[in-house]
């Protein structure tokens, strides 16, 4: 309302100035035949027009600034949020489009494998290797897709954490389902248990726990010698999930960087990267977002004693309606 009144006032002032200029030949005193335009009335009229324009300009500047400060309008967070939503939508489309050919390749691979199994015929080792490679890459692809998805979610403006009832035991069971066959193909075994046996429910983020543990288990299956052990522990106000593997261990200089964004061991050796280096960064960030932490303990190759253990610790929260 104030903006309209000031704009009208500015416009009227300008109009008065213009009328005054136009009436200068009638009102003013002619200085000479060619100099009527610069006589005093025209000076006053020009001043009035400039004053009117200043009123209009200030009105618009001030109203523009006050609009930016109002939260319900187009704020910086809004722009970020819209951008994040757009990225999310784009990614889902991309995931669908990329998923289709991948499902076809994977389906065809399983079809060929079934035909080979039924025929009982000798098959070139290279063919079997190719089929194994395709099947083995499926969990990697699934993890890569969900890593990108979580990364997009993490880039969006921070919102309040949504706590939901979660059964960590069920989450671990599913992750083991996913990796048990891949591990078994590489002659590795995953064993898991819970202490107490009946772990119960905690209030946390199911997707976050699933995501953190999937990244850690994926890492363990990749680097284990033969054994991977997962243990859930519920104690006091905290619960923890330990993922242990009997791999060669991670040297201390690498352990300090393992949670850095984009860092991989190959990076330090100037070798070609085999992973994105995002998984552990995402896992650590997510764990801290939920008020917990992800830590690492490792012993590097010393005869038979070498291992790596990641521990996710999270608070057991009470339900708040």
């Amino acid at each position: 309302m104030i903006r309209i009144v000031s704009t009208v006032a500015g416009a009227v002032t300008c109009l008065v100035g213009v009328i005054l200029i136009l009436s200068t030949p009638i009102l003013g005193i002619r200085v000479s035949d060619n100099l009527w335009a610069v006589e005093p009335v025209s000076y006053i009229a020009t001043g009035i027009i400039i004053f009117g324009l200043v009123i209009i300009t200030f009105t618009y500047i001030i109203s523009g600034l006050s609009r930016r400060e109002t939260p319900e309008n187009n704020s910086g967070d809004d722009i970020l949020s819209t951008w994040a939503n757009l990225t999310q939508q784009y990614f889902e489309l991309f995931q669908h489009d990329l998923g289709r050919p991948l499902r076809r390749i994977l389906g065809k691979e399983r079809e060929v494998r079934a035909t080979i199994d039924l025929s009982n015929q000798e098959v070139y080792g290279d063919v079997l290797e190719l089929l194994d490679e395709i099947e083995g890459q499926a969990p990697n692809f699934r993890l890569m897709m969900s890593n990108v998805q979580v990364l997009i979610e993490m880039e969006t403006p921070a919102e309040d954490l949504v706590l939901e009832p979660v059964e960590p035991l069920e989450i671990v069971r599913r992750i083991v389902d996913r990796y048990t066959f891949a591990a078994s193909d590489g002659n590795k075994e995953i064993t898991w248990w819970s202490d107490p046996d009946d772990f119960g429910i905690v209030y946390c983020g199911a997707s976050a726990i699933e995501h953190i543990i999937t990244n850690v288990v994926d890492n363990a299956v990749r680097f284990a010698g033969k054994r991977i052990e997962i243990k859930l522990v519920r104690e006091g106000t905290e619960f923890s999930i330990h993922v242990w593997d009997d791999g060669l261990g991670i040297p201390e200089e690498y352990r300090n960087h393992i949670f850095d964004r984009g860092w991989t061991p190959e990076l330090a050796k100037r070798e070609e990267r085999t992973t994105s280096g995002l998984g552990m960064f995402i896992a650590k960030t997510l764990s801290q977002r939920y008020g917990g932490d992800l830590s690492i303990e490792s012993l590097v190759g010393d005869g038979v004693k070498h291992y790596t253990e990641f521990t996710l610790t999270l608070p057991i929260r009470e339900y708040v309606s």
Binding site: V176, W193, D197
Partner: protein, 264 residues
């Protein structure tokens, strides 16, 4: 032979695709029956699937349903499977449904799940790139019935109803008479856990109730050794400490059936 014939209803617009074909094939190898919804007219988007799925559930009463989230190519079909799920949960709340989807994570999936489910419904989600074995495991747990037979490796059969352990020699079955009573119960406990959740350890606390005497753990250790010896004799192999039934870090035991017993 794994269990009394379960019947799975498969609802997926890509039912002819190799990826769904592989799942159907694995279900049948499991000894389960499958019925696939194949609408005669696919002009009505996902609505044909809805009508035929509800009709099939009413008539064949399947043990479980494998249902695709997206049925059709149009944007409005993106969550058609969830609409069908909502109706199944409403009308047949005890029918387990495994949603076959690419949206296993992300905000759309979360919204979809929250809006579709009742707390006590048996519904789960699995993504389409999961291995067929993963689908089977998830269905076994969703259906929840204890199996009547469990086949381990390619030779050991545990007949739960008859309380028998048998060894397959070609087409013949040999009963392992030494595994009976408490030894059978211990073996059944280990095999049932493996059947539903391979990798999960059975804690001592669960197994020690099948042992007697003051030294329950020692008694359990002896029984486990006897089971391994009896099975080893029947198979003509010798199981070491790290074979078949493994003691894990003083926590409990775990069954690891070899893929084949030929190289033991």
């Amino acid at each position: 032979m794994q269990s009394k014939t379960e019947h799975i209803l498969v609802v997926d617009d890509e039912w002819e695709s190799p990826i769904v074909g592989a799942v159907i094939r694995t279900l049948e190898q499991e000894g389960w029956r499958t019925s696939v919804i194949k609408p005669q007219f696919s002009t009505d988007g996902g609505n044909d699937f809805e009508t035929e799925t509800l009709y099939a559930i009413e008539t064949i009463r399947p043990s479980g349903v494998l249902l695709d989230v997206r049925l059709g190519e149009y944007r409005e079909d993106q969550f058609k499977g969830l609409e069908i799920l909502h109706k199944i949960v409403e009308r047949y709340p005890h029918t387990p449904v495994l949603m076959f989807t690419q949206y296993t994570q992300g905000p759309e999936r979360d919204t979809a799940v929250r809006s579709s489910l009742q707390l006590d419904s048996s519904v789960d989600f699995i993504d389409k790139l999961a291995s067929p074995q993963e689908v089977i495991l998830r269905l076994r747990r969703l259906i929840g019935r204890p199996p009547t037979y469990i086949v381990m490796g390619d030779k050991i059969i545990l007949d739960v109803d008859a309380s028998l352990v048998q060894i397959k020699h070609g087409d013949d079955l040999e009963t392992v008479n030494d595994i009976q009573g408490m030894k059978f119960e211990i073996f059944r406990e280990l095999a049932s856990t493996w059947y539903k959740s391979p990798g999960q350890l059975v804690p001592f606390s669960k197994l020690e109730r099948y042992s007697d005497g003051e030294e329950a753990r020692a008694s359990l250790r002896v029984r486990i050794r006897e089971i391994k010896i009896s099975l080893g004799n029947a198979l003509g192999v010798k199981f070491g400490a790290g074979d078949f039934i493994i003691n894990v870090r003083d926590q409990g035991y775990r069954l690891v059936p070899p893929k084949t017993f030929d190289n033991q």
